[in-house]
Symmetry: C3
Subunit: 142 residues, 3 copies
Amino acid sequence: MQWFYEELTYKTRSQTAHLITDFLTENLPWIKTIDLGLLNVFLQHTSASLSINENCDPDVRDDLVMSLDRIVPENMAYKHKDEGADDMPAHVKSSLLGVSLNIPIRNGALNLGRWQGIYLCEHRSMPHVRKIVCTANGVVGL
Amino acid sequence: MQWFYEELTYKTRSQTAHLITDFLTENLPWIKTIDLGLLNVFLQHTSASLSINENCDPDVRDDLVMSLDRIVPENMAYKHKDEGADDMPAHVKSSLLGVSLNIPIRNGALNLGRWQGIYLCEHRSMPHVRKIVCTANGVVGL
Amino acid sequence: MQWFYEELTYKTRSQTAHLITDFLTENLPWIKTIDLGLLNVFLQHTSASLSINENCDPDVRDDLVMSLDRIVPENMAYKHKDEGADDMPAHVKSSLLGVSLNIPIRNGALNLGRWQGIYLCEHRSMPHVRKIVCTANGVVGL
């Protein structure tokens, strides 16, 4: 049994779903040593989210962003609006998708399905620097 | 401290919320040996979800499906549509509900509330074979 | 490596997002002893949710509640309506936000972002007594 910990930062481009699977695995080399365990990926923000979805077609990411805009439109009578029209919708989207992902580790790799990738969804219009806390524990045998 | 791991497959019937609590506990007999721990249930797909909700009235499952259809309708201008009109909405629903559940284990049983059950929500119209990765760790004392 | 467990109860006021970060840390004093670990907070209910969002401006909580009401309105043709018009929307909101949170622990504290707080979202109109199961494991070194 061993614990692992890493704080990463990721610069988002704009309101987009960023596919960060490779970014994570490249920066968490100890995943390769874990035979069986769990990885928690935790985003320390309230206007962005983590989600798992399709890893191949960029259209899925665009459609997800478009859908979220429709589900949580900007032109509502929000009370919290000092930081701009995109701010409160970003908070709601963050709660809908969540900021904490738990992913099984098996045989030295994230045990994702064939079509699954990890998204960092930036819900604000402007680029941001986002902090990601990665915590894992598991049986080391590789 | 011990780790447990099991890969299960579940055949969904159609776009429905399937109550899989008993399916899981019957296929994870080692839960009974865990005094205190956590179970991660991870669905390796991007057009279905895991969720916890009411375990008694099937109407709740039907209403959940109906509500999700309204929140993420099929007749939107999706770019990703090669796999059918139900595909992109299924991806969005998958992100909204999530594919990874963490459930406490206490005294050899899932520590769910009285009315809580585990749903596998199939968001595609057709039946699918879905893979579920179950990973647990905890103190074994029973 | 050590495990920790606590069952808490929290009385909600009404359909509101309650900021419970301090309530949790005050009732889980063993967090201070954990150098590196993970806390699972699990709500044993199907008409309330746990979420992480902005910890400062109460308007964000109000706007979140308003947004969820718009996303899951009461005046739909729900089949499950014996417990009142607010019941089935509460179930849907519970699935959208979720009932299980995983939060990293580092240096004796929850490793939340500067603006993050933990919400218990009561989706029913009336006050309720809500049970929260807290399970943690980690390396104790403080």
